[in-house]
Amino acid sequence: MQITADHVTSFLQLVAERVKEQREYLTRLDAAIGDADHGVNLDRGFSTVMSKLPTATDRSISGLLKLTGMTLISTVGGASGPLYGTAFLRAGTAIGDRATIGAEELIAALSAALEGIQTRGKATRGEKTMIDAIAPAIDALKEQYAASGDLLAAMRAAVAACEQGMIATEPMLATKGRASYLGERSIGHRDPGAASAFLMAQAMLETLERVAQG
């Protein structure tokens, strides 16, 4: 399976649609343990990405990912702007000037994105952040792809791991980000960043399924 710049555009469009649809849900999660703006902020960011895509000059995969990263950094604010922005930038850098990418390049790009999030946010697993959804997803993606060589099957496993990781944030005590100020009261709530990460993972799987169907 080869992924093209058009596929990346479809993925970005799908993320933007889902963020808009799930705006209230993400904001409600954030209201419980944060400051009630996660959905609103991400929607503003991805809506701006959508408005910039038609006139993008660099339409390569890395160009589109870097444009997305820079736009998120410039428009989202909060912690999620720098975190997702850095993730897209790092993924774009990892892909470099390749016109199309295969499974291995995609896995490398997603790993670079996770590293970027960890470096910028100085968080590790178990702190009730988006990392708790993303890191297990990438683990599953690597393992399943190594075992089967089937990217689509590996991505399905990754999305399942991502969902489990997201659900696993519910009983966690937050020690990073604004939820950490709640102490014990952060327990019992799903992390909004983990929820938006899951949404993006689902969009990636759907995009790959469409690619596979041709």
Binding site: T27, A31, G34, D35, A36, D37, V40, N41, R44, I73, S74, T75, V76, G77, G78, A79, S80, G81, P82, L83, R120, G121, L173, A174, T175, K176, G177, R178, S180, Y181, L182, G183, R185
Partner: protein, 332 residues
């Protein structure tokens, strides 16, 4: 939601436009990226900028002017501003002597300011940063993102602004800023929640007989919920942890800052100031300077925060120095 607004998504820009007209003698407002800048920038001194989510007015935009901030970067309501804003503001106020970034300790603010500082440094501008973290309500800094920056930020902006105005270099400005932060402590409480315009609903709910102790300034719930108590008990609840933390000692001279969260009338703030003054007198702590009013707010939240800053002679001199901004003005 009952607010004086046209559309939730336009609140920040329309308020900035109003500020620009109301204080045209002191500030200019730049849009896209949004920042408020002192008239005539850059000035021949260290530039001092701050920023943060909107909804805390008059902080920070109301503190732009002579003797305080050179620029302020307002984000969306309760959302940190983005690096483009801080980078543009840094460039606008850089008079060749470097720029100090005053950052409140919130994950998003710290990340966005860090990215802006990296970008400014890449353009050859000398940037130093100070992160305020004075909120004693955050009990365990190891297991959290660290203490939040709250009331001390206002006092720090005034004092550092005066130092920069008097010709202090960037290293000296950073040093005094760190000294202010190290000697200041705060704690706040809420009687009511507040509603972010784009969320349309309050960030948390409080029953008629409940209060939230240890709140931040973003409409987030605090550390614990308690039954509403008389003002004198609430004053003890806030002052106790502040006094014990530094700790403030008998014979110390302090600046006592009683801050309203936005929805509390001055009559209650002065009543609380009376309680705080009594507590300090009992501990033989002298109030050398004071500030009472709504300066670092959380939209329409009703509530109060106390900030105590242990003063030295230099801080007193800088506090007393002339200042002329939309929200603070004396000596000129």
């Amino acid at each position: 939601m009952k607010k004086l607004i046209n559309a939730p998504e336009n609140v920040v820009k329309e308020a900035l436009a109003g500020m620009a007209i109301a204080h045209a003698d002191l500030i200019d407002v730049h849009f896209d990226p949004d920042y408020i800048v002192r008239k005539g920038a850059p000035h021949n001194k260290v530039g001092v900028i701050s920023g943060g989510g909107s909804g805390h007015e008059p902080m920070h935009g109301g503190f732009v002017g002579y003797g305080m901030l050179d620029a302020a970067c307002p984000g969306a309501v309760f959302t940190s501003p983005v690096p483009d804003q801080m980078l543009a503001a840094t460039k606008a106020v850089n008079g060749g002597k470097g720029v100090l970034h005053i950052v409140k300790n919130y994950t998003g603010d710290v990340m966005n300011f860090e990215m802006a500082a990296e970008l400014a440094a890449a353009e050859g501008i000398e940037v130093a940063s100070v992160v305020t973290n004075d909120d004693v309500a955050v009990e365990n800094s190891t297991w959290t993102a660290g203490r939040r920056g709250v009331g001390v930020t206002v006092l720090l902006e005034k004092i550092v602004g005066a130092a920069a105005e008097a010709g202090a270099d960037l290293a000296a400005c950073k040093a005094i800023a760190e000294r202010v932060n190290a000697n200041g402590r705060s704690m706040g409480m809420a009687l009511t929640p507040c509603t972010v315009p784009q969320a349309g609903k309050p960030g948390f709910e409080l029953a008629e007989d409940e209060m939230e102790v240890g709140i931040g300034i973003h409409g987030e719930p605090g550390r614990r919920r308690e039954k509403l108590a008389p003002a004198r008990d609430i004053a003890e609840m806030l002052a106790g942890p502040i006094l014990d933390d530094l700790p403030f000692k008998s014979g110390d001279a302090v600046l006592a800052f009683v801050n309203g969260m936005g929805g509390t009338p001055l009559i209650e703030l002065y009543l609380m100031y009376n309680e705080l003054a009594r507590i300090l007198k009992d501990r033989n702590i002298t109030i050398a300077r004071s500030l009472v009013g709504n300066y670092i707010t959380s939209l329409e939240m009703a509530g109060v925060s106390f900030t105590l800053l242990r003063l030295d002679d230099e801080m007193i001199k800088l506090w007393d120095a002339p200042v002329h901004t939309p929200a603070l003005r004396w000596g000129m």
